[in-house]
Symmetry: none
Subunit: 250 residues, 2 copies
DNA sequence: CGTAATGATACCACTTTCATACCACTGATT
DNA sequence: AATCAGTGGTATGAAAGTGGTATCATTACG
């Protein structure tokens, strides 16, 4: 039997001794399940917010909160006056290859970004090497200060070939969201991690002392065809970010 | 029957005899067990601090102390005004783990190991927590200094339950070889990486200045049945070692 | 005697949830 | 073209529950 939205929601109700999840999160999971199991094909309209609220005995605020999250994730699309629809191009949710924003959201922290620089320019020789581009090609440069719950956590310098994203302003919060929307979400990445001492400039941005330890991460992300879509150098405050990895195999 | 949080807590109470852990440590272990045995799936809410305190006849201060530790470990997430939740793990999957020895060889460096300590002792509370052992159990402790071309590169402290390997001298070169020979080769490991400043002792061993940045890696390796067979804390000189990881999505 | 663990209590800030109401837009009907 | 029912977008207020924090008292231990 095909899962229904209402059935999915009620199924998630069982919680044993644990307090149930928050209603809007439960509903959100229910909708997401229904979509991923195919109960709602792409383009299909969801019941209206008022209908959902009434049928599930929830308030419209709660329903909107659930839907809102999925809209932000690109799973749903809303059109003012028309309705809520399953997005045509569903961005595969990558459980493992995630960017900073997803990481923080998964941890329940509020991500915030302050742009220090956002512009277009010509590649430097080093960038050309890292991105595998020809000299003279254009790239987008981003320099971002990242906050978690309003505490500075990392400075990040990102270089993206202009051939991938032409308009720097298309990147609002998450680079990976922007890449996903144009179907260029990377499937593989190489990271290089090391510990360094913070320089004066970066230390000031991160509101800690010069020379304090930081985690430096360089990442090159690849598409299926091998093109590099991103080269990012990040400095994470050593006392504020842990990198957790799960290893498999024998 | 699935373990429950309250059941877990009371079970730990019966440890009885002379050695009863502090209440907040016991509760902390109980919660951790409940999570790791799946009683609380990721994303689900714990009972509120007030509920826990009331049901377990503890004060809220004690409950908060227990929860606080797990939050710091990244196992739980708290949101002001919302509740306490089992953290969704940020998992980076390393498909190819560049082992220490192989990596050095690839760089044309000669690896060498010097044992600083190798013996049996009783677990400390922290180790008991990491290895999920009862207080008073015996463990093997290894402390090794790793060199590349005769320059110190890392200090490594490893703890293995004596229940797994009884004789410390059975471990000659590679811990994983020794584990494999008795059929206890781990299939899964969790690593935690962060940047720290070196303390005086470790700095001296690594022949660099106190306070210089280092890469701290904690690793817990698991068997199929979930038992922890190894807990290792490594400190790599920040200026001498890069950690390279390959990430996969989809 | 001091310290640490624990308990009891109170208050604050925040989130969730509900109940309304009204606005702005869409699409189809008239 | 005008209308209208249904949609999402926004705002308000209120109640209940949550974690965050502080204070003070009690107990156990060295």
């Amino acid at each position: 039997m095909q899962p229904t939205l209402y059935g999915e929601y009620r199924k998630l109700d069982r919680g044993g001794e644990a307090r149930r999840s928050l209603a809007y999160l439960r509903l959100r999971r229910a909708i997401q399940n229904a979509i991923e199991f195919g109960a709602f094909p792409p383009g299909h309209a969801l019941p209206s917010e008022r209908d959902l609220a009434k049928k599930l005995a929830l308030s419209r605020v709660t329903v909107r909160k659930a839907i809102g999250g999925l809209v932000e994730d690109g799973l749903l699309t809303q059109r003012h006056g028309a309705g809520t629809f399953v997005a045509e191009r569903i961005v595969k949710s990558f459980s493992r290859l995630t960017g900073f924003t997803d990481d923080l959201r998964a941890r329940g922290l509020k991500p915030r970004v302050k742009f220090l620089e956002r512009g277009v320019g010509e590649v430097t020789p080093e960038e050309a090497m890292a991105l595998n581009l020809s000299p003279g090609a254009d790239v987008i440069r981003l320099r971002r200060l990242r906050f978690a719950d309003d505490k500075p956590l990392a400075v990040e310098a990102t270089v993206v070939p202009a051939a991938v994203i032409a308009d720097p302003n298309a990147i609002k919060l998450s680079l990976y969201d922007a890449l996903g929307q144009i179907g260029c979400r990377p499937t593989r990445a190489l990271q290089r991690l090391r510990a360094i001492a913070l320089g004066a400039d970066d230390a000031e941005l991160l509101e800690c002392d010069t020379g304090s330890p930081a985690l430096a991460i360089e990442r090159r992300a690849f598409l299926d065809d091998g093109r590099v879509v991103e080269f990012t150098t990040s400095l994470y405050r050593g006392d504020a970010y842990d990198f957790v990895a799960e290893l498999h195999g024998g």
